[in-house]
Amino acid sequence: MSTPTSDRPARRSPPIGRRSIDDTRALLLATGAEMVATESAVTIGRVDLLDVCRRAGLSTVGSAYKIWDTQDDYRLELLHHVLGEFIPGRDAIDLVTAAIADDPDALPPLPELIRTATGTAIADGDDGARHFSIYVGLWLASVDDAALARELHDSDVTVIDAYAGLYDAVAEAYGLEWKPPFDARFFATMVAAMTDGLTVRMGAHGDLVERTLVRRVDDGSEEAEWSLLACGVYALARAFSRPRGAGAPGERDGGHDAGGG
């Protein structure tokens, strides 16, 4: 997972005067992102460039205004900085895509792929929690900020489409197809929703969300440790896909229904 605030600021930065424009830009963006993530009263729309400079250890705001003409210019770039970095699991997408392209025959069984690829996708540790807090702050702010809502929307669609492409490739590699009316985009949206939701739940029930479940999926595989997210993704994958060509007109959706009166 990428870390928008990992190249964080002041103490490790070059002394003022020897810092380049690029260094100052990176420093002030990282500092602003940190403030938005950790201070509940600071949203991107309200972050103050003077405060950011102070926090970053700059004695005046002058060097910032050599980079940005106005606070709004800074805030806009900060927004792009945060959204651009907040693409969870990009490494996992690249890894699985490369594995499929290299040698589809060497792929592990699908449950194993899901178990290992989703095992660490929940925003974990301080950095992960901080990134998700930034996202939540943006999401809340977008309620009454149409421009921000558009930025957030476009960024989210980019992420979902990246994952949808991956899931289509996985389905193809494993000889699966989506059960109508489902498709890769819907599956990606559901998985993203579960990931987001479990990250929120982690703040309330971390002991449960972080539990590792030892289970054997019903394909004769070995017992293995599964995260809650991996279990959920596997359940959705089974419900939304089927072996290619297995569909029949008028087919009923599967599952057990023990109801009745």
Partner: protein
């Protein structure tokens, strides 16, 4: 009344939304009072008011997730509906409810991360809510003569389904075109098409995977 007015203001303003922007004068006006005087007879200052408002929001928003009343309503009839129908109807109601209260919940969720006192209240309310959810899912599983597939249990099911509805609420606002109001599935009598919300579809997938008919 003033706590309700504050909660309403918070929800309306969305979020520019940090609590520190809720002023007692605005709240009193919203509540139909001409001055803030009566507010200050109750709370010595704005911070005291905000602290109590936050406490109310924590308890209120967490409790709102529980759906026992909805299920009791369904179970209260003469006939227990098929499980799929219960899921389809109750999950649709729950998702709609969540959309209205969720921004407020997230404001509290964010605030408690940096406020130890609030975090303790938050954890207490969340635990009570999870207990209620466990009781609910245990009752549903029993009523339909199901059992949990190992290693799942009612708490895991509750947390997972809550995560799903919360995540879908976030997705629905950010990218509404990716979260359709409903999708048609042939689950009615003789394959008749019925509308399923994305949340209900997810609940069914998870329920089918985590439970089975009792052996």
């Amino acid at each position: 009344m003033l706590l309700e007015a504050g909660a309403a203001l918070l929800a309306e303003r969305g979020v520019s939304v940090t609590l520190d922007r809720i002023s007692l004068i605005d709240v009193c006006r919203r509540a139909g009072l001409k001055t803030a005087g009566s507010g200050y007879k109750i709370w010595p200052n704005q911070d005291a008011y905000r602290a109590e408002l936050l406490h109310e929001l924590v308890v209120g928003s967490s409790a709102s997730f529980a759906t026992k009343d909805q299920v009791d309503g369904v179970f209260g009839g003469e006939r227990i509906p098929p499980l799929d129908e219960l899921i389809r109807v109750v999950a649709a109601d729950n998702a709609a409810l969540n959309r209205t209260i969720y921004p407020t919940y997230l404001v509290v969720w964010l605030a408690q991360r940096t406020d130890a006192e609030l975090a303790a209240t938050f954890a207490e309310a969340e635990d009570a809510w999870l207990d209620a959810l466990v009781a609910l899912f245990t009752a549903v599983v029993d009523a339909y003569d199901l059992e949990f597939v190992e290693p799942f249990d009612a708490a895991i099911l509750g947390v997972t389904l809550s995560a799903l509805v919360e995540g879908l609420t976030i997705r629905q606002r950010a990218t509404p075109e990716l979260v359709p109001e409903s999708l048609p599935l042939p689950t009615g009598d003789r394959g008749a098409v019925q509308d399923w919300t994305p949340f209900a579809i997810g609940v069914k997938a998870i329920f089918d995977a985590y439970t089975r008919p009792r052996r």
